[in-house]
């Protein structure tokens, strides 16, 4: 148990909810069973999935501490774009469909709540100084992919931002790298859609600290994906989004993937 504020030994960290309230509900139960003292969400609460308002009561009920993602910033500030950072026209086409639906279906009180979310959180995990952000500490919508992020870049981020470990999401794919000086970078992935690996489950991270180590465990999270797909159908979301949920492979917003990550998928 934590003895003082922002001091933990075991936490559950997730990102990219994308309105997947089924996965969020499953995660909150699963995380407690695994001994998490607290839950942290690294942002992007809406997008892609159905009925965005269903996410917020679950977050509040479990006192989840939330970092603002680019999506939350856009919805909260009534912007005309999700700021996802895509450069390809096809990626942006589907991002726009998703954003317009999410914006139109998010209550004003939740927009106001998202507008006030912090850009980063700092906590202690054991003796480690942890920095929790959405994309990177320097830019909310920076993509930190496993195969296109050099190790010395991550080490510089840790130096510049005075952190033993940086936790991020934004890309939707989980990975971690141990850095020099017992520092770490952890992309916790996304619980909003599968990891482009042909499996329907989604991923989050359990982090524990002992005397001189951080242990990172990525958890494959089963959830009622068929119910999610059915709800997406009833909300008339694009069939191609539903295909992702049912097949486990990304079907949209893929041009942003680096070569290695793209090859692991089907499309």
């Amino acid at each position: 148990m934590n003895n003082k504020p922002n001091q933990y030994q075991c936490i559950a960290v997730f990102g990219g909810v994308y309105s997947n309230h089924y996965a969020l509900d499953a995660l909150l139960k699963d995380g407690r069973q695994r001994g998490a003292e607290a839950f942290f969400c690294l942002g992007d609460l809406g997008a892609f999935g159905p009925n965005p308002n269903k996410v917020f009561p679950l977050l509040q009920k479990e006192n989840v501490q939330v970092v603002q993602g680019n999506y939350d910033h856009s919805i909260g500030n009534d912007l005309n774009d999700c700021q996802c950072g895509y450069t390809d026209p096809t990626d942006n086409y589907y991002a726009k469909i998703s954003y317009d639906y999410t914006y139109a279906n998010t209550d004003e009180r939740w927009k106001a709540w998202m507008k006030e979310l912090p850009e980063e959180l700092r906590i202690d995990l054991g003796s480690f100084k942890m920095l929790l952000c959405h994309g990177s500490p320097r830019k909310t919508n920076e993509f930190l992919w496993e195969s296109t992020t050099s190790t010395h870049f991550l080490e510089k981020l840790c130096r510049d931002y005075h952190a033993d470990a940086i936790l991020a999401t934004h890309t939707g794919l989980h990975w971690s790298r141990r850095l020099s000086g017992n520092r770490h970078f952890i992309n916790v992935g996304s619980i909003g859609r599968p990891a482009n690996d042909g499996r329907q489950h989604v991923w989050y991270a359990i982090l524990t600290a002992d005397d001189d180590q951080i242990h990172v465990e990525f958890i494959p999270l089963e959830y009622p994906y068929k119910a999610l797909a059915e709800e997406m159908r009833s909300e008339r979301l694009p069939d191609t989004f539903i295909e992702t949920i049912e097949s486990g492979y990304w079907t949209t917003c893929m041009e942003v993937l680096p070569g290695k990550e793209r090859k692991r998928g089907k499309w």
């Binding site: 774009d81 895509y86 390809d88 830019k139 992919w145």
Partner: protein, 313 residues
Amino acid sequence: MNEHQHKQTSRHPSLELESLDYLWFQVAGTLCNLMCKHCFISASPTNDAFGLLSLEAVQEKLEESVQYGVKEYYFTGGEPFINEDMIPILRSAMCYGPSTVLTNAIPITQDMAFEMAEIEQESIYSLEFRVSLDGFNAEMNDAIRGKHTFRRTIEAIQRLVKAGFLPIITTVMTWPEHKHEEVMAGFLKTLKDVGYTRPRLKMLPMIKLGGEEQRTGGYTDTEEVTNDMMAGFDTTQLICSNSRVISDKGVHVCPILLNAEDSLLGGTLEEGIKPYKLKHKACYTCYMNGAICSNPSSGSEMLFTEKLESHHE
């Protein structure tokens, strides 16, 4: 400099290097196996204004780059694969970070493609190829890139695909805007027809320098970046805010302005980290299009500040 000249130059903003995220290597200088009509540095088999980079020179800069936290490495020319050290260079670079080669791919044999696939498999990083193709048929492409280059590039793409790569086919938008969708569809069909079933495309604006200036007339007087255009502009869109280029002469501000006298900033990365004045017409192309040199996986970090229509009222 007289007073009038000073007034003219000071109209242009000066941009700091915010972080050295991308380090480019002009590995083939201005030497190329082709003579494309739109080449903004007029690379050719005989243009040796900039020469090849040696493996040792690249390795020295790779090591120097570590302290700056460089995130990705890019290799360009000319045609990188006329540099016989290119595969050893990539083998070294992939130990440091993700690497991308901008190439017409024609010199890449099947054995080379397989060897580079092994290099990628042994690394935690992606090895990307950006393959230039300027038309979805021979008539369209060869008019710009030269006779038989369409067939030869398609065959090279097939060799890369056979080795397991998903090359990013890069095209300069030389067609009128109203034909864009038709051309995009043409590229996708052509590539799928030759066996590249998951084609990746990247469209580039015309850089109206070098060969392209001769071909279409260059920039107009109003195409420039001035101080008053910078209010509210996200400067991270400009490559000179996050990149530098290594040539056989030293460290340059960006790969587009290689031939500009003031693009050479110094001999070391430390000397290359100085502000740069955006006084060239080509700066306008970057200003208008943003993120044109980096891969789609780097994303656009542009932050939108525009409100939805209903909230303007």
